[in-house]
């Protein structure tokens, strides 16, 4: 089996210049070149090729190629420091805030080149929203938290429209019934799970196409976690979701495909059920069965 992996690696890197359609046509071959499984799909919402990320001199991500299909939930798992969060934060250029971080390769949101130097990140982040590890509502009222995005992007012209967006967002986040009587009380007064759902409501209020979630449940108790997972399942009908998680059970429960990162490399991407019953790569198997020292 050593030999199998070794020979797969020698097939060579995929050509980043190749147009996406061509890349998907022979994705099997290319997948064998880098990553085991099925990293590429047809008509992807986001497609990443040959992504390298450096922190100063240190390379954090090596040759990662991955597609995220429309309305698909892709889970990224892997041990701490494997680069999954770093990769996720490349997808809406949150890494820009780190001076020494440098990203190479092609990252595309449909036809839009995410790392085009001329690109304004503000509209990009309106299309690719993000939910963070720690629930981080603004120290403002629940209403203002949700209304913040639509306000700064100028999505609404009248108060009634804003009210409507706030209500639908909170409803979609499954929070409306719990907070409708206290919209003007501070968002920080909610419980951890409610805060996280508020953050999700805040993100979907600007109607992004893709939602990135960076370990959204790691600070929550199991019941709050179950609610968020339920919410992710509902949201996947309308949004494309990429989620980084430390909980393999969570990845198994919520995602359509699972990507396994190891030391900055994308080892395997497969249908979630495949990954959790019979992964192709021994590293994936070792990780999900709890064999890492």
């Amino acid at each position: 089996m050593e030999a199998t992996v070794g020979s797969a690696n020698t097939i060579g890197k995929l050509n980043s210049e190749a147009p996406v359609s061509k890349a998907t046509a022979n994705y099997k071959e290319q997948a064998a070149g880098k990553t085991v499984g099925i990293p590429f799909v047809e008509h992807p919402k986001m497609s990443m090729r040959d992504v390298q990320v450096y922190y100063g001199d240190k390379q954090a991500i090596f040759d990662v190629g991955l597609d995220i299909g429309k309305n698909e939930v892709v889970a990224m798992i892997g041990p701490s420091g494997c680069g999954k969060s770093t990769f996720l934060r490349c997808l809406n250029r949150m890494n820009d805030t780190i001076d020494i971080c440098r990203v190479e390769g092609s990252l595309k949101l449909e036809e839009l080149d995410i790392y085009d130097p001329k690109l304004d990140v503000v509209p990009l982040r309106a299309r690719v929203g993000m939910v963070f590890q720690k629930p981080n509502p603004f120290p403002k009222s629940i209403y203002d938290n949700v209304a913040y995005g639509p306000r700064i992007h100028g999505l609404v012209s009248r108060k009634s429209e804003l009210d409507e967006i706030v209500e639908t967002s909170l409803r979609r986040a499954g929070l409306w019934e719990e907070v409708k009587d206290r919209l003007l009380s501070p968002g920080t007064g909610l419980s951890g799970g409610q805060q996280q759902r508020l953050c999700i409501a805040r993100t979907i209020a600007v109607s992004p196409e893709v939602i990135l979630m960076d370990e959204p449940c790691s600070a929550l108790d199991p019941i709050a976690t179950a609610k968020i997972e339920e919410l992710i399942a509902e949201l996947s009908a309308n949004f494309t979701i990429a989620i980084v998680t430390h909980s393999m059970q969570q990845a198994a429960r919520v995602s359509d495909r699972t990507a396994y990162f190891h030391l900055g490399k994308l080892i395997e991407v497969n249908e979630t059920e495949k990954v959790f019953t019979n992964p192709d790569h021994e590293l994936t198997e070792a990780y999900i069965t709890g064999r890492f020292g």
């Binding site: 198994a252 959790f276 198997e285 069965t289 064999r291």
Partner: protein
């Protein structure tokens, strides 16, 4: 691509749990194998005592099944196993069901031995019984071996052998049916032998099931309800 191993978990207790599952399953397998041999021997050597013994020991097999079932449930609840570990637990849970049925069949054979001893020897069928008995015995041994060593090729052999047992069974049936037509007075005695051979054939089928579970366990491939050729094709493709 044999990548199955049950050790090296971060949790040593998890290793021990899985190891215990495996050894106890093999113990149960050993017991069932002994039951099958004893039952066949009870008929061929007309040994009522041995037959009684097989019937009483069937309870031990049942106890094994209950105990292993419980252990499987516990591992599932405690460890939420994934991938190879998950397949291991699932396979064990399925294999014990087949082993228990094999035990039941051995008990049936032993009951036939008792009836033969009461009604008198059957005029025909012992040769076939012994022949099929030894084939099935080998199958059972191989089945347990392929599980113990997670050996896919051996499992494939077991599946192939099951085909041979089925053929032997059919020809034995044809022959005994012919004999019964010739000598209707011996029908009830020959029928006892027929039931015993039928049970052996069932044991062979269960062995094949177990072999299929082993293939699922090792390869993660579902090879139930397919021909041996199809099975080979699936495994062959996998090996590419």
């Amino acid at each position: 691509m044999d990548k199955l191993s049950i050790g090296q978990h971060i949790s040593g207790q998890f290793n021990a749990d899985l190891e215990a599952l495996k050894t106890e399953l093999l113990e149960m397998g050993g017991l069932v194998e002994e039951q099958v041999i004893s039952a066949v021997k009870a008929i061929t050597s007309a040994d009522s005592e041995l037959a009684e013994q097989v019937i009483t020991r069937e309870e031990e097999v049942d106890n094994f099944e209950v105990k292993l079932d419980e252990q499987c449930t516990l591992v599932l609840a405690r460890r939420q196993p994934a991938a190879g570990d998950l397949r291991m637990v699932l396979a064990v849970a399925k294999i014990i069901r087949d082993l228990e049925r094999m035990g039941d069949e051995a008990q049936k054979i032993a009951k036939m031995a008792l009836e033969l001893n009461e009604e008198g020897e059957a005029p025909r069928g012992y040769v076939e019984l012994r022949h099929i008995g030894s084939l099935v015995h080998q199958m059972v041994i191989n089945t347990l071996d392929c599980f113990a060593r997670f050996d896919v090729n051996l499992a494939l052999n077991v599946a192939k052998e099951d085909g041979r047992v089925d053929q032997e069974y059919k020809s034995a049936m044809r022959e005994l049916a012919t004999y019964m037509m010739e000598d209707p007075r011996s029908i009830s005695r020959v029928l006892n032998i027929v039931w015993a051979i039928r049970s052996l054939e069932r044991i062979g089928d269960h062995s094949r099931n177990i072999a299929e579970h082993v293939i699922f366990l090792v390869k993660g491939l579902d090879v139930r309800h397919v021909s041996v050729k199809e099975m080979q094709r699936k495994l062959g493709q996998e090996d590419d």
